[in-house]
């Protein structure tokens, strides 16, 4: 690159990021109105935040409220911004950084298709049992398992199934909720 075209020779000053990134789970309570998901996702892409996982569904039909669980990877400074920027959206009621607040449980569900016969099939069933995966579809040469748990449990199950004939996987993304009696 020519010296005069280097980024410092621009109208902007680019600072080096010095903070380490962290993985945080946020729970966002929103009005379930048309376009709300686009607003949230648009905010992330417009401001350059990374989404690891995002789930959304109406949780209180009467009050038309939805809960979005979003997993992000960002520096501590950006995490604060993400929370504040989400709170600026008009239909957003509350944002909780569950990871920062510390006390929460999280689960994900995956459907996993595995193909195989003979020894592989037996081994597949043994492992599925160990992971408390349910068989929700079976043919003579395949299974579809339903497995629920923390994402790393699902990751390990998928890793084990890979050599045994993994065909495909769908995952719901993370659902998370605070522990104890208090609601959001």
């Amino acid at each position: 690159m020519n010296a005069h075209l280097q980024p410092t020779g621009s109208a902007y000053f680019l600072t080096q990021e010095t903070q380490q990134t962290e993985r945080h789970t946020l729970s966002v309570l929103v009005d379930n109105e048309p376009g709300i998901l686009a607003r949230v996702v648009g905010l992330f892409s417009a401001r350059g935040y990374n989404i690891e996982s995002l789930t959304v569904s109406e949780t209180e039909h009467g009050r038309r409220l939805s809960r979005i669980t979003v997993v992000v990877i960002a520096t501590p400074k950006t995490l604060v911004q993400i929370k504040l920027q989400l709170e600026r959206l008009v239909p957003v009621h509350r944002v909780h950084d569950l990871t920062a607040e510390g006390n929460y449980v999280e689960r994900e569900l995956a459907l996993i298709k595995v193909k195989g016969t003979g020894d592989h099939r037996a081994e597949t069933l043994r492992l599925a049992d160990a992971f408390r995966a349910h068989i929700i579809d079976a043919t003579v040469e395949s299974f579809v398992f339903e497995v629920t748990g923390k994402p790393d449990k699902i990751d390990s199950f998928i890793a084990l199934m890979t050599p045994l004939g993994l065909v495909e996987v769908v995952r719901t993304g993370l659902a998370a909720i605070g522990r104890g009696a208090e609601g959001m």
Binding site: S10, A11, Y12, F13, P34, A46, K77, V80, E87, V90
Partner: protein
């Protein structure tokens, strides 16, 4: 009390109930029912623009100069897309706008219908909030909510997209009441935390090198906020600087005024920011044109930040005392608490600081070499300022974007808020002329001047026709350097003076152009004739396009090149740098 009417009638009724007197708009197929409803009433006056971008900037000028929301009405498709620049501009500068966009009928949405575009999708990221109304039952609530959201908290633009069948549909209209406006999730915080304000005052009471760094938030908090700022400044004795957006909130004639800060701010303001021990940021947002290099920004100060938008705090610069709240309310509290602790300004304690500031001031960072053969742009603004001071009228200034904008900020002085309209955050060339139209609509008897560049003004020139149609006597003061001067300056600084496409070639004859539109044209290139030409402009009762031929290659100084700390400012060669700047600094000059 509900009343039956059509959606189109609701739009007009809601505008009337919201106290809207003027709207800026342009008709088209999908908007016709609303235009028809407008035809049959006379509470709301419609200003027909020449391009929808013009309508948005007019509404911005109207809003900024009155404190009331600006209202825009455009048709679907191209009407809406043309409004996008002004919406983004209003979002960046926190200007309250309500923009009603017409949409194709709900049955056609999603079919690529004629003049259909995804208005809510396109404007989602350039509005504070937006709505697509698909049911007539929602329309009255949405219209009132749009005004509420646009004008409260940190103000901004709100779009209401209304399909044509909803405009025809009949429903129950109700007036805005606090009940209907209680929004479930939108609750801006306006009162600052008293403990934090007390901590801030305690810090101010111990300050030895304090500075008030104020911004557009003070203007947005209303004229009272400006009065309170003045009072607090007088109570404390602290120096005051401001961003581009905050000019006028503190009187430029006050001895505590330091001039604007930032990339083209004064030497004293920027050095005081760099060396202060307590910084009190009131309604400014640490924009990159202000901070320069963030890691070298005011390295030894404790920082207080008052902002109504929590996300502005700690976004760029980490602060010690964050205060989320409306600037006016927080200023009132600061005054009350300060008074409860002392009745003395800190004159003695900060005397050495003022002495230091005086030595920086003595540098004369806004000085320039004048000439008697060619008009210097800075001098032209100074002469304009002097001439307007003698006028009996209230004076409002708008600008385009470029060198002329910075010179206007440096050399035109404001003693009151809401008199200065400029595109700060987005830096939109073409803002100033339509903004001046909007200001003049709101203040028919005032003197409204757009300080312009010959390149910028051509972006929205057609709105001169609007000014002529509505007999709005705006003055357009073009500092014509036949260059995109600001671009040329950067090319000199960073790109080896390779002037890629920064000339203004094939310029129109602005005098003839003014006449073609039905306005008056004036040209002046001789410094000796400038005062008389300015007087001629001010005396003319109608729109004037004044082509001031100025020095072509003047640089806008002082300047902090981006990525440099405040103390590496480039000064004009007329500056009295004497003993203040060392060899290294001198090399920069």
């Amino acid at each position: 009390m509900a009343e039956k009417m059509t959606g189109a009638e609701m739009v007009i009724q809601a505008l009337a109930d919201q106290g809207v007197e003027h709207i800026f708009g342009y008709p088209g197929g999908a908007a016709l029912p609303i235009y028809d409803a407008m035809f049959q009433q006379d509470f709301v006056q419609h200003i027909l623009v020449r391009h929808e971008q013009g309508a948005t900037h007019m509404a911005e000028g109207y809003a900024r100069s009155t404190g009331k929301p600006g209202v825009v009405l455009v048709t679907s498709g191209p009407g809406a897309t043309n409004a996008v620049t002004g919406l983004t501009d209003a979002l960046m500068d926190s200007i309250p706008l309500v923009c009603i966009t017409a949409q194709v009928p709900t049955t056609l949405i999603g079919t690529d219908g004629f003049q259909e575009c995804d208005t809510v999708g396109i404007t989602r990221s350039c509005t504070k909030h937006n709505y697509l109304v698909k049911d007539i039952k929602d329309l009255p609530r949405v219209l009132h909510e749009a005004f509420h959201i646009a004008t409260t908290g940190r103000p901004g633009p709100v779009v209401v997209d209304i399909p044509k069948d909803i405009q025809f549909a009949v429903g129950e209209y109700y007036k805005p009441e606090s009940e209907t406006l209680r929004h479930a999730s939108y609750r801006p915080r306006v009162d600052g935390d008293v403990k934090a304000i007390e901590a801030a005052v305690d810090l101010m009471l111990k300050a030895e090198r304090p500075i008030f760094y104020t911004g557009g938030g003070v203007i947005n908090a209303g004229p009272e906020a400006s009065e309170n700022l003045r009072e607090l400044a007088e109570l404390t004795g602290f120096p005051v600087t401001s961003t581009l957006m905050g000019l006028g909130a503190f009187p430029a004639s006050n001895p505590q005024w330091m001039g604007m800060l930032g990339m083209h701010g004064t030497y004293e303001a920027n050095l005081a920011m760099h060396d202060c021990d307590v910084m009190i940021n009131i309604g400014a947002r640490f924009d990159d044109r202000i901070t320069g290099r963030v890691d070298a920004f005011s390295p030894n100060s404790r920082k207080i930040h008052v902002d109504i938008d929590p996300s502005s705090i700690n976004k760029i610069v980490r602060v010690d005392i964050p205060i989320v709240g409306d600037c006016n309310r927080v200023l009132e509290e600061m005054i009350r608490i300060w008074r409860s602790k002392t009745n003395q300004p800190r004159t003695e304690a900060i005397a050495p600081w003022w002495k230091q500031i005086e030595t920086w001031r003595a540098v004369g960072s806004l000085n320039f070499k004048n000439s008697d053969t060619v008009i210097k742009p800075q001098w032209a603004i100074q002469r304009l300022y002097e001439a307007t001071k003698k006028q009996q009228k209230d004076v409002f200034i708008t600008t385009e974007v470029g060198q002329h904008q910075m010179w206007a900020a440096q050399h035109f002085h404001f003693d009151k808020p809401n008199r200065w309209m400029t595109s700060g955050g987005l830096g939109t060339m073409g803002y100033g002329l339509p903004a001046a139209v909007g200001v003049q609509v709101a203040h028919p008897d005032a003197l409204v001047i757009d300080i312009a560049g010959e390149a910028s003004v051509q972006m929205t020139m057609q709105e001169l026709s609007t000014a002529v149609q509505y007999r709005l006597p705006i003055k357009i003061f073009i500092l014509n350097n036949e260059r995109m001067g600001m671009v040329r300056q950067w090319q000199d600084l960073l790109h080896g003076s390779r002037y890629a496409h920064s000339y203004s070639e094939s310029l129109p004859d602005f005098v003839k152009l003014a006449e073609a539109y039905g306005g008056k044209g004036i040209r002046c290139e001789n410094p000796a004739e400038l005062d008389a030409a300015i007087a001629e402009m001010l005396d003319y009762d109608g729109p004037v396009l004044f082509d001031v031929i100025v020095e072509k290659d003047e640089n806008c100084l002082p300047m902090i090149p981006s990525g440099k700390p405040h103390n590496e400012i480039i000064l004009p060669d007329t500056a009295n740098i004497g003993s203040i700047i060392d060899e290294k600094g001198r090399a920069l000059v």
